[in-house]
């Protein structure tokens, strides 16, 4: 069948485009880069500029004179260091726990299940992501309440709910980000050739040995990819703490309280540098592991 040839004008435009590769590229890149660089990076940059400003303590208006005050306060006041360390530890704990929980289930899904069951399970895995972050956190609030589900489950064993606090926050964060950890690992495991596993068992390795020597090294980039999500999402979370955290504060709460309640944008911007630098540092470190392609 002879396909319809394109009309003359279109052909002319196409050939022009074809010859001018750079124009094609420019057209493709202009809009997205404008959006990302000018709008997004630009706004990030102007926010960080405001970290060097201050607010009038009475009227709350922005005072645009350069000052190191905000950073001085951040570094010298003990409390911010404490909160930052607390938040980073929580983020690390959540990442480690989620990795430990995700590996067996991802392995199970990728290598043990039949393809049809696999698809079903992936769908089942994705469904909780649709349940609304807020509602899930709130469901945990009722779980942790005095007289709530956890009390009801654990009381026969003489235990009780840990109540609202850092432990509850960590558990809920683990829960919320678990699918984000499972999915990249699952995708990575799927790509793992079964022949390697076969060869390993042919050579006499048990499940554990195969896991340690074959699976783990190859799934490492996906693990890192998943960890980017859990680490960054935990570091930036302020809502879960408000719901199940009781009286604890995490670093994101410091940022939120200063920009929202206290109306002190410069200080919030200065504080915001801490998670940004942490996450950027983390991203830079893991760039080489090839994790960024696996997101």
């Amino acid at each position: 069948m002879r396909a319809n040839l394109a009309p003359q004008n279109e052909l002319r435009a196409s050939s022009w485009l074809h010859r001018h590769e750079k124009s094609r590229l420019a057209i493709l890149l202009s809009a997205p880069l404008f959006w990302l660089i000018v709008a997004y990076l630009g706004s990030l940059f102007s926010m960080f500029i405001s970290a060097f400003w201050s607010v009038d303590s009475f009227t709350g208006s922005l005072v645009k004179t350069f000052t190191w005050e905000n950073f001085q306060t951040l570094i010298t006041a003990d409390v911010y260091r404490r909160i930052a360390l607390r938040s980073i530890s929580v983020a690390l704990m959540v990442t480690i726990i989620d990795a430990l929980l995700a590996l067996p289930i991802a392995l199970f899904m990728a290598k043990v299940l039949s393809p049809r069951k696999r698809q079903l399970l992936v769908v089942l895995l994705l469904l909780p992501l649709w349940a609304s972050y807020l509602v899930k956190a709130y469901a945990w609030r009722t779980l942790f309440a005095n007289g709530g589900v956890l009390d009801w489950l654990l009381n026969p064993f003489g235990l009780g709910t840990p109540g609202y606090g850092l432990a509850a926050t960590t558990i809920v964060l683990c829960y919320l980000w678990l699918p984000y950890m499972i999915l990249p690992i699952y995708a990575g495991l799927e790509r793992l050739p079964n022949s390697l596993l076969e060869a390993s068992s042919d050579l006499g390795a048990g499940g554990g040995r195969t896991f340690r020597s074959i699976v783990l090294p190859l799934v490492y980039p996906s693990l890192i990819a998943g960890s980017i999500f859990t680490f960054s999402l935990s570091l930036g979370d302020y809502i879960t703490v408000k719901i199940v955290g009781g009286k604890t504060q995490l670093f994101a709460n410091v940022i939120y309280d200063n920009v929202g309640t206290a109306g002190n944008l410069p200080f919030a911007a200065a504080a915001a540098m801490v998670p940004v630098i942490t996450v950027l540092g983390y991203l830079f470190l893991v760039r080489r592991s090839g994790a960024l392609e696996n997101l």
Binding site: K64, V79, K247
Partner: protein, 400 residues
């Protein structure tokens, strides 16, 4: 080539944004950071109220603008909407700080501001003076609420008084032995450790100062909002010793209600509306008292934004909310003294005004209303007091 083009483009773009952010003017009509007496912005009050614009965006304290969604029978917003044609969008502010920040965005037409927000809003030019002649119900508002230090400046009224009340000490009946003093929430050996609550705002430092005012007279605190270094440190230390017994710091009133109902909180500072809601839900019985040391409290004023997009609707709302019937309803629902004297005849509980001392000017002057702390001590000692920025920072340290 492409490389330099891209770099050029990005540098230009970032530079553009920098220039834009540096040259834009925020509400800097009254920046005078160094001086203690900021200058009053020159904003004109409205001269007439025309037809409603069809919508109204207001920032309110919880319970001040009920439209039937909390309780079907509690609604003074819908009658207003029907009469004025202004559809009301309500944004609940949990603390005065939140309200100030929200008003600064310029997206809201008005706010029910407490004394620790009013002056900040006035001096930053975020609110306009109110032409009280345009609010007919203002004439019968209690006189001791007019032209006060917290709602007027430069001889002009900046708002319409809404009502006033005290922060109460709430405790669960049956779980807590009836307390008589604020000492019950500051007792480090409290039997209720882990179930005590406190208000999550730097202004709560004043409650600690109030307690010290009565229990440590050697500190010579005369005004819980005017604290010099030593007095401030004592209050902060008291709150740091309180932290271990605290279960939750509350700012969301519905979270506070839930906490009392589930037993996660059994004693602490609270509002009468929270107590009323808990008792109405019948899951727990909560009592409230004003302890022997007295109490901090609030005297709220409706203020109109200087950037209000619906000023007519706002004036109509202000007139409506202090009308005898509406003011009676909101006062009873929230549990505070109404500003409208004519409301006392319209409350469902005939003894309401008496029990809340609504028309008692002497009683009203005893409550330590929320006020913004400034460097210049409010009791006249000079500029040795801690300003609100110091309070805010201390609060973060206290919560750890």
């Amino acid at each position: 080539m492409k490389r330099t083009q891209l770099t050029q483009l990005s540098t230009m773009a970032v530079a553009l944004l920098l220039i834009a952010s540096c040259s834009s003017s925020s509400s800097s009509t009254a920046t005078n950071a160094a001086s203690d007496a900021p200058s009053l912005p020159n904003i004109a009050a409205a001269t007439s109220v025309g037809d409603g614009e069809g919508a109204l965006n207001i920032v309110v304290w919880a319970g001040y603008a009920e439209n039937g969604s909390t309780d079907k029978a509690v609604d003074w917003v819908t009658p207003f909407e029907k009469a004025s044609g202004c559809k009301v969008n309500v944004k609940v502010g949990n603390t005065s700080d939140e309200m100030v920040t929200l008003m600064k965005t310029g997206q809201y037409d008005g706010v029910s501001a407490s004394g620790d927000a009013t002056l900040r809003l006035i001096y930053s030019g975020d609110v306009a003076p109110v032409n009280t002649d345009l609010v007919p119900n203002y004439t019968t508002v209690s006189d001791f609420l007019k032209n006060q230090q917290w709602n007027s400046a430069g001889g002009k009224m900046y708002g319409i008084p809404h009502g006033w009340g005290a922060n109460v000490l709430a405790y669960t009946d049956g779980k807590v032995a009836a307390p008589t003093s604020w000492g019950a929430v500051f007792d480090t050996n409290s039997p209720y450790k882990g179930t005590v609550t406190a208000y999550d705002s730097p202004i709560y430092i004043a409650d600690a100062a109030l307690y010290l005012m009565k229990t440590k007279p050697e500190l010579k605190i005369t005004n819980p909002y005017a604290l010099d270094d030593a007095q401030f440190q004592a209050a902060v230390d008291l709150l740091k010793t309180q932290k271990p017994i605290i279960g939750e710091y509350w700012s969301d009133y519905t979270k506070a209600v839930q906490s009392f109902e589930s037993g996660n909180t059994v004693i602490g500072t609270s509002w009468q509306v929270i107590v009323n809601l808990v008792n109405g839900g019948k899951k727990a019985k909560v009592n409230s008292i004003v302890p022997s040391e007295g109490s901090t409290g609030w005297s709220d004023t409706w203020m109109i934004s200087s950037k209000a997009q619906h000023p007519n609707c706002m004036y109509k709302w202000m007139d409506h909310i202090i009308s005898p019937s509406a003011n009676a309803q909101v006062a009873e629902w929230f549990g505070e003294a109404p500003s409208q004297t004519a409301s006392c005849a319209m409350t469902a509980d005939k003894n309401f005004c008496t029990s809340y001392h609504a028309t008692d000017a002497a009683y009203a002057s005893q409550i330590h209303y929320w006020t913004t702390p400034t460097k210049s001590c409010l009791d006249g000692r000079g500029s040795i007091c801690k300003d609100y920025a110091a309070w805010t920072q201390a609060w973060t340290e206290i919560k750890g």
